[in-house]
Symmetry: C2
Subunit: 128 residues, 2 copies
């Protein structure tokens, strides 16, 4: 499930709200975009078309609901970026990020804690 830039914006609103109409999405995005109502509709339709959203008519209004989780979408975006830009694996990406000096001390500490907290997980594969 590959999402385009505009699709991410729309999905974010739906993830946030659980369920949303085109109007809801537009109301939220009005702050950051200048989209016309029909632009939102088009993107929603495309998302429904590719199976990212479920649509249900309520009265004369379509209500949209996410069929993929944000986690899943994020993961697949990261994998796809790793694939094109980081030799296909997440770990060079992590290394790259961990090396950035734009990471704050606080972040670093949190991350260390996170990484240390993870269980050993010796042989397990095919997670989730």
């Amino acid at each position: 499930m590959r999402l385009s830039g505009a699709e991410w914006k729309v999905m974010s609103v739906v993830w946030d709200r659980g369920t949303a109409s085109a109007r809801d999405v537009l109301d939220v995005l009005e702050a950051e975009t200048e989209w016309a109502y029909t632009t939102v509709k088009t993107i929603l339709a495309r998302l429904a078309g590719k199976g990212a959203l479920a649509v249900e008519m309520r009265g004369n209004t379509s209500e949209y609901q996410a069929k993929v989780t944000q986690e899943e979408a994020r993961q697949s975006a990261l994998l796809s970026l790793a694939d094109s830009a980081f030799e296909g694996s997440l770990s060079p990406m992590l290394h790259f990020l961990a090396n950035r000096d734009s990471i704050s001390k606080k972040d670093r500490e949190e991350l260390i804690a996170l990484l240390e907290a993870k269980p050993g997980r010796p042989g397990r594969k095919g997670g989730r």
Copy 2:
């Protein structure tokens, strides 16, 4: 500098070799793609057009050389992904990655070492 999937493949070869002709690129990529020679040429031309590559004629052959580093390209790809999918900041992305249980024990240890090795950099902000 936004690179498309095909452009990443081509840039990778150029980064690897320092300088490359279309033929060189094709030779390397023949293993993983089935591109025609002219496909490679098209992508090279687009990359030159957007300033990612410099071109120099040597005999009757164009030699291409990277004008952006892999680091820069990776960074901007990550920023752009962070922007669309992770609320605009790298740290949720790092958190997300660090939380994946697909990270090997070895990676975790390396990362912890990396993160711990970074200097304190106390008050500095607005990085790079």
